[in-house]
């Protein structure tokens, strides 16, 4: 009898999840679920021309964004996010591998994390200072006589891509670092011992074993890039506007809150679909 009672006590008092799970749930509902529901609700309400909304059902917000022809912006956003996530992974895989087996592992990890200590806007302005028309590189090129007039490094899609990769690279490095660190080094030695060249070790042993890390890294870059606002606003050109900028414009300049909420809702659904596809796709290959 005593034993049984004790056992049940142990079970109920056991995991932190059971103890604190409800706290997380409340936090999530207040700060995440409710705002998302508010946005969804706004997208089906009527526009107030002063800004704000009138509490009356309408699908004019969705009609507006189709009239405004946002398809190109949506496609551009997805393409730029996809490319920046792909570039981040191409850079992050070798970099993480190097960090895992480096003598200065902790120091290098610190370097990866340091950018988070500074506001991202300041870091974007730092890039403008470097790449701008009167920036460091242009002045150097002009003074050396390599070019006659300044080179237009920023205010185009390439600059948006560059700064996106710069901003989100740590998000790709960290999951890849942890998934590479989990692997025993002996696996690579065994692979070489069994006849692999270095290249084959990479493709046949390293890559398949960090698939989950690659999926996480991709999601961690792709999703925030979909909603990015400041980067194209500051270093983008006429044709670099992304969906985040359109949301801001509808909200502030056009004062069409239902349209802004409608774009946000579509973006949200796109994001959820992307996450499901990546995670489910990764797992399915894992179990085969």
């Amino acid at each position: 009898m005593t034993l049984k009672r004790k056992r049940s006590e142990v079970l109920s008092s056991g995991s932190g999840y059971e103890k604190y799970g409800s706290t997380y749930l409340i936090w999530l509902v207040i700060f995440f679920v409710i705002p998302v529901l508010v946005i969804l609700a706004y997208s089906f309400l009527t526009r107030d021309y002063q800004g704000g909304i009138i509490l009356k059902f309408s699908i004019q917000g969705y009609k507006d964004i189709f009239n405004l022809n946002y398809l190109t912006v949506f496609i551009r956003t997805v393409i730029i996010s996809f490319i920046s996530a792909a570039i981040c992974i191409l850079i992050a895989v070798p970099v993480s591998y190097y960090i895992v087996y480096s003598k200065f592992k902790n120091f290098l990890l610190l370097l990866v994390i340091i950018p988070f200590w500074t506001n991202s806007l300041i870091r974007i302005y730092a890039w403008i200072f470097i790449l701008g028309n009167n920036g460091l590189i242009n002045q150097l090129l002009l003074n050396l006589g390599i070019v006659n007039s300044y080179v237009k490094f920023i205010y185009n899609n390439a600059a948006v891509l560059l700064i996106l990769v710069y901003t989100y690279l740590p998000f790709a490095i960290l999951p890849l670092f942890s998934s590479i660190e989990r692997l025993e080094k002996q696996l690579f030695e065994a692979a070489m011992d069994l006849g692999c060249t270095k290249r084959q070790v990479f493709f046949r042993v390293l890559l398949p074993n960090i698939k989950q890390g690659i999926v996480s890294a991709f999601v961690f870059v792709f999703i925030p890039a979909l909603g990015t606002y400041a980067v194209p606003e500051l270093v983008g050109g006429k044709n670099s506007r992304l969906i985040g900028n359109e949301i801001a414009r509808q909200l502030t300049i056009a004062r069409n809150w239902p349209a802004a909420a409608a774009i946000s809702s579509i973006l949200l659904i796109l994001t959820i679909i992307a996450v499901i596809v990546f995670i489910y796709g990764g797992e399915k290959r894992e179990t085969r």
């Binding site: 025993e184 002996q186 065994a190 070489m192 069994l194 084959q200 698939k211």
Partner: protein, 371 residues
Amino acid sequence: MPGSSVSIIEVDKYFGDFHVLKNVSLEIEENEFFSLLGPSGCGKTTLLRIIAGLEDVDDGDVLLDDKSILNLPPNKRPVNTIFQNYALFPHLSVYENIAFPLRLKKFSESEIKRRVDWLLNLVRLEEHAQKKPSQLSGGQKQRVSLARALANEPKVLLLDEPVSALDAKLRQELLIELDNLHDRVGITFIYVTHDQAEAISISDHVAVMNSGVVVQYGTPYEVYESPADTFVANFIGESNLMKGDVVEILSDEYIAVEFPSFGKVICYRDKPVKVDDTVLITLRPEKVRIMHNKPTPSDGIPGNVVHGIVDEVIYMGYQTKYFIKTDEGYILKVYKQHVSYLLDERIIKWKDEVFLYWNPDDSFIVEVEEN
């Protein structure tokens, strides 16, 4: 699959300032089961990794069938390794792990299947072929890694403490299996271990290493019955090590040694000594016989007789370990094998007065200090 001979020629290896291997030379015969035995940090694993190509040498050469292999990368050497932690590829099934080296060689699917099936049968894992490594027990994982290493038909198989991560019973089973496997595939096995019992039970030859030096090379009998120095005597099996002074040279073969611990005994003279030299004598506990009555020369027993009191009795079923306190207060280990029904005898108990005797040939010199 014929195996290769391996020659290690004056190999030196440093890790930074640490001299891991000091001018190591070894001859490993083709198709033999060879063990590198030594405590952790003695350099045995480094030597194995050098043969595999996973480490470079700072000096010396490694020959396979009289040809140097130092310039070959690991993937070009006809040598495969069993790693201590198995190193199975977690993303591949048992079947695909074993097929891994065959796919690298671009064999046809039917040829791969034929060979993998043969190897699965060899290590008795047919019914586990589709499982992932994470679903296997330690012993099964090690058998997969054996099959995978043999798939390339190597000339030499290197085994780095392959059974040390397993529990005692499984370790015994896998050792016997390894021995059978060696008989079946007939290639050279080089086995690294810190466990002397493993090494002497399955090897044709053993090299005992300590601090980067091969201190003794020989058959298991040789290293057990005639250890080269104190280290080997202590490391392999158990022994009574006693320090005494040579008091008389009896013949070419025997000397009399006076021990402060238990008086004068006759020892085998396997090293040149003279009177007054201090010698370190070893005596294996199982070579000493124990009885209640003092043996007389008419019993036909030559040799040494020592009197003492039983200080500790450790009964183990098949044998009993006695710790005997001699009249001078020294503790001597004596192991008695129970070769007949124990209860018929007068059992030796704690605090009994006993006599120990042994053949002088069994107490011999391991080290000499000249005075």
